[in-house]
């Protein structure tokens, strides 16, 4: 899984040009390029999946520029996921059982899959 960079050093500009580019660099190559100020790591958008991530709340999105290994560890740990352009809908938290009111009893969906209006329940 590649990261997005911009060439900042003269050598990198000669190799990659001055446009924003997507590269699939190894950990060592990325570290060399960043520490050598040849490439600048550009932020991307992530969605928080876990409930113990300090940067943002579960379901929220945030922008960050994570090196390959940091991003990999957070994704593998189930904390964040990349938000792609066709995946920008915010996640909504599901209603848990203990937040339901006595009137919110489960109503099975109708045969066409739609959830019936609870006000018409039993009528």
């Amino acid at each position: 899984m590649g990261n997005t960079y911009r060439a900042t050093g003269e050598r990198a500009k000669a190799i990659y040009g001055e446009d924003i580019l997507e590269l699939d660099l190894s950990v060592a190559d990325e570290r060399d390029a960043l520490e050598g100020k040849q490439l600048e790591l550009l932020p991307r958008t992530y969605r928080v999946l876990s409930d113990n991530f300090a940067t943002a709340a579960q379901g929220e999105t945030f922008d960050a520029a994570y090196p390959v290994e940091i991003e990999s560890a957070l994704i593998a740990g189930g904390h964040i996921a990349r938000v792609t352009e066709d995946d920008t809908e915010p996640m909504t938290e599901s209603v848990t059982d203990d937040t339901k009111t006595p009137d919110d009893t489960d109503v099975p969906p109708t045969e066409d899959g739609a959830t019936p209006d609870p006000d018409k329940k039993g009528k």
Partner: protein, 139 residues
Amino acid sequence: MSVQVLLDVYVSVNSVVLSDHGNQVTVTDTRAELDATAFGATNKIVAKGIGDGTISMQLFQDFAAGKTHATLQPLLNSSTAVPVEIRPTSAARSATNPATLMQGLLLNYNFLQGQVGELSTITAEFRNGSQTGITYPTS
């Protein structure tokens, strides 16, 4: 005299809050001791050398997504230092609640340890992985 009872210590690894799984932390910020004693001396003299830092923590093991194992295990194979932050309480950083911050490399992780009938607890030890060493930010 105001004493501190550890009740609500904040433990964060790679921006993941693991406080609710932790029950012990140790932050060690040291400077190398260099023997500067020369011939003719009547007392040993030490000079202070370069710094070093270690943050170790004891956590309850949890294999659920986003919890102890899922957070720590990927870091064992990582050579990139991650932020490790400890605060006396979970309140925001302040002069009376200073953080301990270190870019750390996870060098020791005990996947399982304990005896029959015990809670499964693990220890994780982070060593300093950057030239900034351990810092104590208050904001």
